[in-house]
Amino acid sequence: MSDAGWSDLMRAANAGDAEAYGRLLHAIAAALRAPIRRNLLRAGRSAADVEDVVQEVLLAVHLKRHTWDSERPVGPWVHAIARYKVVDALRRRTGQFDLSIDEFSETLAAEEPEPSVPASEVERHLATLPAGQRTVVQAIAVEGRSIGEAAERLSMTAGAVRVALHRGLAALAKQLGQD
């Protein structure tokens, strides 16, 4: 998918088009797997960690999307987020502060499907969230329920489900960035 395609999807997403947002996040994940793997392997890290970093990038893209200047293409912004998260992940686990990484090229990498073995870091941190946030994130992510369905099943208002979901995702992103 072209960069212009990403920008259009992001604009549609910001205007409330959930389907476009889902397509964009899938496209970003598919395009970033190869460059993230290349950087992790180059730094002596296991390819098994690639999907964890991909998920960290997706969470950051989601939680920081208000920092995208909508008059500019979204590709360089996504690459800048990915760059920060890759450097951060390598720094945290290798303890080195002066890391050079392969730049995320402006020409998009070949898309790569999700590996069959699921990533484990988000799961691990999910277990430490307060029960309210954890059950809401699980109901929507793992069980695939809508906000309304989750509210009904958990006997909460839709508004409370939305708040718990957002706080849960923000807490996950924070914890992922800390260990």
């Binding site: 998920q55 208000h66 999910l126």
Partner: protein, 211 residues
Amino acid sequence: MRTDDLVQALVADRATAPPLGTQFAWALAAGLVLSAAGFLLVLGPRPDIGGAVGTIRFDIKIVQVLLLAVTAFTLVLQIGRPTAVHRGRVAALAIAPVLLLLAVGAELMVVPADRWPVRLVGTNSRVCLTAIPLMALPLLAAFLIVLRRGAPASGAVAGAVAGLAASAAAAVLYATHCPDDSPLFVAVWYPIAIGGVTLAGALLGRFLLRW
């Protein structure tokens, strides 16, 4: 967790923060109101400000700190994003220091050498070194709060820019109070005060602005 599942959760979460530019505008307004209130209560503009406005040294001093505040704030607006900062805006930071150097050169030419130390030491350097950092505090705090919600590529750089913009704005307020208008005074004491706040911003940013 599968990435497909995570995406489902992200798509379901529609909560968004206001655009960064809007948040910085509020931070600037709130910080300035606090700083200006403190300034008016404790220091206030100098009594002879009406006459001072017509003198060249006072006017150049005000223009310099204003230029620094404006060029630094336009950088603050960009530094909260992860993408590279516009080079022109970085280069624009040099405008105020260059103007100051020119003013220093002119002052050295028109003032006899035996008067230089008096002009340089001035009468108000201690107030300068305390008032600028104190008045910068509310602005620095407000900028850091917004930057924490942003995604700066470097926390230390972003904190430094926030410190520079906050202390330059504080210097504008202080400049209307300070009776020392000589470029020699401005070139020695203002940079120490502004540099200190900028350094503090960099240190704070290094720890507070990780995301």
